[in-house]
C-alpha cells in the first residue's frame, strides 16, 4: 500500500499546477496531474472580430508570449487565404527564434537549475578551484578567482542578512543533490548572469515587436514594423542575437553537459513513449513542407515508425477533467461545459486502495490524444523527430552530446534527455536566426521592402494554425461566420503534456513520466520537481476555456 504525496503549488513554472503521486517502495507507483485554474479566453472570443483574436490569445501566457499571437494570425491567414510577404515571414521567424533562445535559457537557469544545483552549498566552495573548474568546462566571457570570490561574497551577504527571500525553505542539503560546492558556485553565478542576459535578449523582440512580453506588431497579412527595417535596427538585433547565442554556445551548453555528467542516472528516469510535433520555421512560403524544425509522430519510442501528423486525428477527452461528460471531439467541434466537482483521484475510497475505475475528475486541463494516444510534445519530441528524419543540424549535436556524456541513444527517452534536447535545439534554432536575418538583409538590398499583403474578410471560413513553439506543438482552430468568430479552440503544449487520463484511462505524458521515479524523502520530493519541471509546464496556457451559462454552485474542497 503506497503513501500519497501532494505537491501544490508546483513552483518555478507558469501557472497553478498540483501534482499528486503514490509512492511505494521508494518509487512513484501512480501519478495525477491537475491544472488548478480556469479563465475562459475561448468563450470570450465568440462573436468578436477575428483580427482581434491574436491580442486575446496572446494573454494566455506571458511566459510563452508572442507564440499564441503568431498561431492565431496564422489560423486567420489560413482562413482568409492570404500569403504573407517574404520579409514578414523572416521577421516572424527571427522573433520566434529569439523566443526559443530566451525561453530555454530562462527555463534551464531559473526554472529548472535549482532542482540540480544546491545554491547554499556554493558558500562552501573554494573560489580559486571554481575558477579552474570553469576554465576547463566553458569559455564564458567572465570568470577567474576574483570574479567567483565576488559572487560568493554577494551570496554570503545575502544569506547573512537573514532575509533568504525566494531561496528560503527549499530542499537544500537533500541527498539527491550531487554537484560539488565548486560546481554549485559556478552554476549560481551563471544563474545571475542569465537573469541579466534574458532581459537584454528580449530587446530583440522590442526592436521589431514594440515591446516584450506581448509584442504588438503582428497583423493578419504580415507585420507592422516597416519603419524598423533600417540598418541600425537590424544591426542592433544582430548584436543582441550574437550575444545571446554566444551565451548558449559558451555557457548554457557547457553547463548542461557539466550538470548532466553528474546525473546520468536520470537518463533512465522520466521517459514517455509517444511524441508529436507540428513543426515550425517555414523556410519558404511552402508550409509545412519547408519547416526548419520538421513535423512528425513517433509511437512507442520507435524512431523508424515516424509518420507525418494529420491535425484531423486530434481529439480532446474530458472524462477526468471538470467538464460534462461527452464523446472525445476534434477542436473544430470542441465544446466546453464545465462541471466542477470534487478533486477526485480515487483516494477518497479509503486506504489508498482502489482501482483505476474509481478515479474521477481532477483537473481543469482536457486530455488531448492523437489517434487515441497521449503524446509528449516539446523539445524532446522535436529533437527525436528531427533526428529520425536525419536533419543534420540536429543529428550532429545529438550524436556529439551522446558521445561526450558516454550514454546510449536510449537515454534520450528520459528526464535528462528532455532537458538536454531543450539545450540542443537552442543551438540549432538559434544558429538559424542568423541565416534569416541575413536573408532579410539580402531581400531589402534587392529593393523588396514589402511587409504586408492586403486581404478581405470572407463571410464564412475555417482556418488552422499549426506551430511548434518553445514548449511544444501548438494548434489554433478558428471558425468564422458573418465575419465574426463562431468558434475558437486551441490545443497547447501543456495541454498535451500535463493533461489527465483520457476516456480509456491512459495516463497523460507527465503522469506516465513520473511512474518509477525514485523518492528519497517523501517530505522533500525533489525528484518529482525534476521530472515535472523538465516538461517546462505552463498551466495558464493549458486551461483557458469556460462555459458562461453554467450557474451550478459547488463546495470547495480544501485539502
Amino acid at each position: 500500500m503506497g503513501k500519497r504525496i501532494i505537491v501544490d503549488p508546483i513552483t518555478r513554472i507558469e501557472g497553478h499546477l498540483r501534482i499528486e503521486v503514490e509512492v511505494e517502495g521508494g518509487k512513484v507507483k501512480n501519478a495525477w496531474s491537475s491544472g488548478q485554474m480556469f479563465r475562459g479566453i475561448e468563450k470570450i472570443l465568440e462573436g468578436r472580430d477575428p483580427r482581434d483574436a491574436q491580442h486575446f490569445v496572446q494573454r494566455s501566457c506571458g511566459v510563452c508570449t508572442y507564440v499564441h499571437a503568431l498561431s492565431s494570425v496564422r489560423a486567420v491567414e489560413d482562413a482568409v487565404k492570404v500569403k504573407i510577404p517574404k520579409n514578414a515571414r523572416l521577421i516572424r521567424n527571427m522573433l520566434h527564434g529569439a523566443q526559443y533562445q530566451q525561453d530555454h535559457i530562462v527555463h534551464f537557469y531559473h526554472l529548472h537549475a535549482l532542482d540540480w544545483v544546491d545554491i547554499v552549498s556554493a558558500l562552501k566552495a573554494d573560489p580559486a578551484k571554481t575558477a579552474r573548474l570553469s576554465e576547463t568546462l566553458n569559455t564564458a566571457p567572465w570568470g577567474g578567482t576574483p570574479y567567483y570570490k565576488e559572487v560568493q561574497q554577494r551570496l554570503k551577504t545575502f544569506v547573512d542578512s537573514g532575509q533568504l527571500g525566494p531561496f528560503n525553505n527549499a530542499y537544500w542539503g537533500h541527498k539527491a543533490y550531487k554537484l560539488p560546492p565548486e560546481a554549485n558556485l559556478m552554476a549560481a553565478s551563471h544563474y545571475i548572469e542569465a537573469l541579466r542576459l534574458q532581459a537584454k535578449s528580449m530587446k530583440m523582440h522590442a526592436i521589431f515587436g514594440g515591446k516584450n512580453p506581448h509584442p504588438q506588431f503582428l497583423v493578419v497579412g504580415g507585420v507592422t514594423s516597416a519603419r524598423d527595417l533600417t540598418p541600425d535596427r537590424i544591426a542592433q538585433f544582430l548584436y543582441l542575437y550574437k550575444e545571446t547565442q554566444d551565451f548558449v554556445n559558451k555557457v548554457y551548453i557547457p553547463d548542461l553537459l557539466a550538470v548532466a555528467s553528474f546525473y546520468k542516472d536520470w537518463g533512465g528516469i522520466g521517459g514517455t513513449s509517444n511524441f508529436m510535433a507540428w513543426g515550425d520555421f517555414p523556410m519558404t512560403d511552402k508550409e509545412p513542407d519547408s519547416n526548419f524544425m520538421p513535423a512528425g509522430v513517433i509511437m512507442k519510442k520507435d524512431l523508424k515508425s515516424i509518420k507525418s501528423p494529420d491535425q484531423k486525428k486530434v481529439t480532446e477527452h474530458v472524462t477526468h477533467a471538470w467538464y460534462k461528460n461527452g464523446s472525445a471531439k476534434h477542436p473544430y467541434e470542441g465544446e466546453t461545459a464545465p462541471q466542477h466537482g470534487e478533486y477526485d483521484t480515487g483516494g477518497k475510497k479509503g486506504a489508498w486502495n482502489f482501482s483505476e475505475k474509481d478515479v474521477g475528475k481532477y483537473s481543469w486541463i482536457k486530455a488531448p490524444r492523437y489517434e487515441g494516444e497521449p503524446c509528449e510534445v516539446g523539445p524532446l519530441a522535436r529533437v527525436l523527430i528531427a533526428y529520425a528524419k536525419g536533419k543534420k543540424e540536429i543529428t550532429s549535436v545529438v550524436n556529439s552530446t551522446l558521445k561526450k556524456l558516454e550514454i546510449p541513444a536510449a537515454a534520450l527517452f528520459s528526464t535528462l534527455g528532455r532537458t538536454a534536447a531543450r539545450g540542443l535545439e537552442t543551438i540549432a534554432v538559434g544558429n538559424a536566426v542568423e541565416g534569416w536575418t541575413m536573408e532579410l538583409i539580402e531581400n531589402l538590398k534587392k529593393g523588396d521592402t514589402k511587409t504586408y499583403q492586403p486581404w478581405k474578410m470572407p463571410d464564412k471560413a475555417k482556418g488552422v494554425g499549426l506551430n511548434d513553439v518553445p514548449r511544444g506543438a501548438l494548434g489554433h482552430w478558428i471558425n468564422i461566420e458573418n465575419k465574426k468568430i463562431k468558434n475558437y479552440q486551441y490545443v497547447v503544449p501543456s495541454t498535451w503534456n500535463l493533461g489527465p487520463r483520457c476516456d480509456k484511462g491512459k495516463l497523460g505524458p507527465v503522469e506516465e513520466a513520473l511512474i518509477g521515479t525514485p523518492i528519497e524523502n517523501p517530505k522533500q520530493p525533489l525528484e518529482i520537481l525534476r521530472t515535472v519541471h523538465s516538461f517546462d509546464p505552463c498551466i495558464a496556457c493549458a486551461v483557458h476555456v469556460i462555459d458562461p451559462d453554467s450557474n451550478e454552485v459547488y463546495k470547495v474542497k480544501v485539502l
Partner: protein, 313 residues
C-alpha cells in the same frame, strides 16, 4: 554608506559606471515627477536600504506576463532587485521552495512582517462559485487575497488584471473575475498595462522607500507620475494627426512615412500611460513606434470598450 560603497564597486565590476547609474536615477526621478534635488536620494534608496523591504507577490488569475515584465527591468537589474534591494518573500515563479514548504513561507512572511510588507498582486480574482475557478494549495484566490492583502502596508496591483479584472473579466466574464480592489473592497495602487512597464513598478517602490508613502494617484488608483497624461498628447506622431496625415492601410506608403494610426484604431487619445516617453526594454521601442495602433491596454475594460481594435474610435 558601507553597503552603498559595495554597491558602486559591484556596478563598476559589471561595466556600469557610477555615472551611468546616476543617469538612470535621474531618469527615474524625472519619471516619478520629483525635482532634481531628489536624485541623490533616489540613488541612496536603490543602493543602500537598511533592511530590505519585504515583498509578497501573489500570482492569481493571470498569464505571468507581469512577472516576465518585472524580470526585464534593466536598472536596477532583476538580480539586484532580488539580492540587494527587496526581500521577495514569496513569488511562485521564481522561488525555490515548492508545495507545503512554499505555503509555509507565505504564512510565515505574513505573520513576521504584518503591516510592513508590500503586497504585489498579479492577476484577477474569480468571484463566482465561491471563487473556485482558481486555487493554490487547495485555497481559492479569493481566500488567499483575503488572508494576505489586508495585512500588507500597501497593496500594489501589477497589471490590468489585478487592477481592473483584465482579460478574463471581458464579456461574458465566465468566472465573475474582478480586480483586487473590487473583490476585497480595499484601496489599491494600480499599475495597469498588459503588461505594465517595469520602470513604473520600480518607480513606485522607490517612491515608497524614499518618501515612506505611495505616490500620488488619480481616481483609478494609478500613480500620476506614470499615468498622468494620455498617449496621444505624448505621441511623436501627433503632428501627423494635426496635419490630417493618416495611415489607412498597413504596409502602405503612409505607414512607412510614420503617419498617425488613428484611423486604424489607435486608442492613444483615450489611454493614460507613459509608453511614448518611457518606452519598453530600456527605451528600445513601443507599439506605435513599431507601427501598430495602441490597443489601450492600461484602461479599465479595454477588452470590451476598445474592441474591435482595428476600427476607428
Amino acid at each position: 554608506m558601507e553597503k552603498g560603497k559595495d554597491f558602486y564597486e559591484r556596478l563598476e565590476s559589471k561595466g556600469v559606471s557610477r555615472r551611468d547609474f546616476m543617469k538612470y536615477c535621474t531618469f527615474l526621478t524625472a519619471t516619478m515627477g520629483l525635482s532634481c534635488s531628489n536624485i541623490q536620494n533616489v540613488a541612496d534608496a536603490i543602493a543602500s536600504p537598511a533592511q530590505r523591504p519585504p515583498v509578497i507577490w501573489l500570482n492569481l488569475a493571470e498569464c505571468t506576463g507581469c512577472t516576465e515584465s518585472l524580470l526585464r527591468t534593466m536598472y536596477p537589474w532583476i538580480d539586484e532587485l532580488i539580492l540587494e534591494i527587496l526581500s521577495i518573500e514569496y513569488h511562485e515563479t521564481i522561488m525555490a521552495a515548492a508545495g507545503h514548504q512554499a505555503e509555509e513561507n507565505l504564512h510565515n512572511a505574513v505573520k513576521k512582517y504584518k503591516g510592513k510588507f508590500i503586497c504585489v498582486v498579479e492577476g484577477a480574482i474569480a468571484t463566482k462559485y465561491d471563487g473556485a475557478y482558481g486555487k493554490v494549495g487547495g485555497k481559492t484566490f479569493l481566500d488567499i487575497a483575503k488572508e494576505v492583502c489586508p495585512q500588507a502596508a500597501a497593496v500594489v496591483c501589477m497589471g490590468t488584471c489585478s487592477s481592473f479584472g483584465g482579460i478574463q473579466a471581458a464579456k461574458p466574464n465566465p468566472g465573475g473575475y474582478v480586480g483586487v480592489g473590487e473583490a476585497l473592497g480595499i484601496k489599491t495602487l494600480n499599475l495597469p498595462g498588459c503588461p505594465p512597464n517595469p520602470v513604473n513598478l520600480v518607480g513606485t517602490i522607490v517612491n515608497y522607500l524614499l518618501l515612506g508613502k505611495l505616490p500620488d494617484m488619480d481616481d483609478k488608483g494609478r500613480p500620476l507620475f506614470a499615468y498622468g497624461k494620455n498617449i496621444h498628447d505624448q505621441c511623436p506622431r501627433r503632428s501627423h494627426f494635426e496635419n490630417d496625415e493618416f495611415v489607412e492601410e498597413f504596409g502602405s506608403e503612409e505607414a512607412s512615412m510614420g503617419y498617425c494610426l488613428y484611423k486604424l484604431g489607435c486608442r492613444g487619445p483615450e489611454t493614460y500611460n507613459n509608453c511614448p516617453t518611457a518606452k519598453f526594454m530600456g527605451g528600445t521601442n513601443w507599439p506605435v513606434q513599431a507601427g501598430h495602433p495602441c490597443i489601450g491596454c492600461s484602461e479599465p475594460d479595454f477588452w470590451d470598450k476598445f474592441t474591435p481594435f482595428y476600427e476607428e474610435m
